[in-house]
Subunit: 175 residues, 2 copies
Amino acid sequence: MDIKSVIRTIPDYPKKGVMFRDITTLWQDAGGFRHVVDLLVWPYAGVRIDKVAGIEVRGFVLGGAIAHQLSVGFIPVRKKGKLPGDVISEQYELEYGTDTVEIHSDAIKTGDNVLLVDDLIATGGTAEAAINLLRRAGGTVIGAAFVIDLPEIGGAKRIEAMGINVRTLCAFDGD
Amino acid sequence: MDIKSVIRTIPDYPKKGVMFRDITTLWQDAGGFRHVVDLLVWPYAGVRIDKVAGIEVRGFVLGGAIAHQLSVGFIPVRKKGKLPGDVISEQYELEYGTDTVEIHSDAIKTGDNVLLVDDLIATGGTAEAAINLLRRAGGTVIGAAFVIDLPEIGGAKRIEAMGINVRTLCAFDGD
């Protein structure tokens, strides 16, 4: 199936000039949702994965499904102040200012193989911070999986430069 | 397995006197996560389900996994202003003030059978609003599934009074 055909583009959202790629139309499509989970998971057949980490908030839907498919645990990567237990944090740069992602301090055991999941990779800033966090916690990030790549923005290359295997299923440029 | 044993309680979070039930310790437990998905899904064997609706944000992890297990589509029920497309909204009362949940206007087709999913039911206010919303969109809510019930607060009874089959897997009182 053509994955791009079930992803809706909303022009000028959240601000003028941005073409927002809305993955909810893919999620609500039974065949589409199943298909992207299968496509993201199959390259890891035979690879030991201990945990799936999903990035708040759209990475939770796909990450929950992938963790279930692999029969492994799921770890939420959340924005600052959202997790109730003891956390470790990683700050990262935005265009203007900074942001912070967190995981629970006990979410990773040393040596855990972790697959990072999100719906879309743009600058890769959040994914890079999440990978730093998972590594600091003792995990080995064995891959990063996204449905949508925005290659002009270069995030996938940035994550590959960290030595991470990046998998994306479709790409949008300015169209 | 004893589901309660893998749910962490954090006293005085988010405010003094509240015993917060932290489901992330269940998610990160491979056996626990798999087990609760299986337990929530099996009563619906042989029942036609077209969509799983998950309530922001913890309902996304479980809802994604359950939608995948059932091979159906997933619909996010989000707080006001978070969805990028045209939405329908439902306002509901809080102890002090009001809140609003939204779904995309095209998320439900008339006659869709929908299973509502969240991690926990307390007052049931958000779940009630979500059910009203799904019904207004033309869906039939064939059940509401939660991992954790707080029976003293009475949310499950409130949802059952709407004619909805409610399934919960464990209960916490003040302990």
